[in-house]
């Protein structure tokens, strides 16, 4: 059973059409939730880290929020250059004392001009 579930799998928006991506998690002992952007043929690019429920982070048209069971990535007035796959990862305590992030499968966002 997936510990990190992202929805929707794919999302098509018109330029300027705001929307939200969801990341729900079932892990206990959350030690951080991360959002990444990944462009085709490239490695994930770090966007945000959220640590506690109620926390919010913003960067340009993106805003990430966190509750006890899920996180949302809100995209306000998106532009075609926001098209990418957005990955969510949660970090929990793992054996050996290290914190290993578990990634979701991502949401593929396409913004049409």
């Amino acid at each position: 059973e997936d510990q990190v579930t992202q929805s929707p799998e794919a999302l098509r928006l018109q330029e300027g059409e705001s929307s939200s991506l969801n990341c729900s998690y079932t892990v206990s002992g959350l030690r951080g939730l991360f959002w990444y952007r990944q462009d085709p043929g490239k490695g994930p690019e770090f966007l945000f880290t959220l640590y506690s429920a109620g926390e919010e982070k913003e960067k340009e048209r993106l805003k990430a929020t966190l509750t006890k069971k899920e996180s949302f990535l809100h995209i306000t007035a998106p532009k075609p250059e926001d098209s990418a796959t957005y990955l969510c990862a949660v970090r929990m305590h793992a054996s050996g004392g290290s914190y290993i992030p578990t990634f979701g499968r991502g949401t593929s966002l396409i913004v049409h001009p």
Binding site: V4, G32, F34, Y36, G41, K42, G43, P44, E45, F46, T49, L87, A89, G96, S98, Y99, I100, P101, T102, F103, G104, R105, G106
Partner: protein, 113 residues
């Protein structure tokens, strides 16, 4: 932040051969990781590359198949041994820096024929 480079960026290999992927970071980092990203799948951690000691492998990954070297705090290699078509994937190097942000390299796209 950290700037990470990987070599090669892509390769096409024959079944039964081995490929070594290099990862170079522009600063000294304690924690380096190797991930695999198969089409339509989430990032899967292969192993944590420890400087001065053997790598720590995740369930389902073994040292004979994925030997890792970590000779210093800025460099690591991952070898994919005795390759089969199932090893076709993107392999990503990642580092964790203070304050607990994780960055990824551009990836190595491997195709095994």
């Amino acid at each position: 932040s950290a700037v990470i480079s990987q070599k090669p960026s892509r390769d096409i290999c024959q079944r039964g051969t081995s490929l070594t992927i290099q990862c170079q970071v522009d600063s000294q980092v304690t924690m380096m990781f190797w991930y695999r990203q198969q089409p339509g799948q989430s990032l899967t951690l292969i192993a944590t590359a420890n400087q001065g000691s053997e790598a720590t492998y995740e369930s389902g990954f073994v040292i004979d198949k994925f030997p890792i070297s970590r000779p210093n705090l800025t460099f690591s290699t991952l070898t994919v041994s005795n390759m089969s078509p199932e090893d076709s994937s993107i392999y990503l190097c990642s580092v964790r820096t203070a304050p607990n942000e994780q960055f990824f390299g551009p990836g190595t796209r491997l195709t095994v024929l």
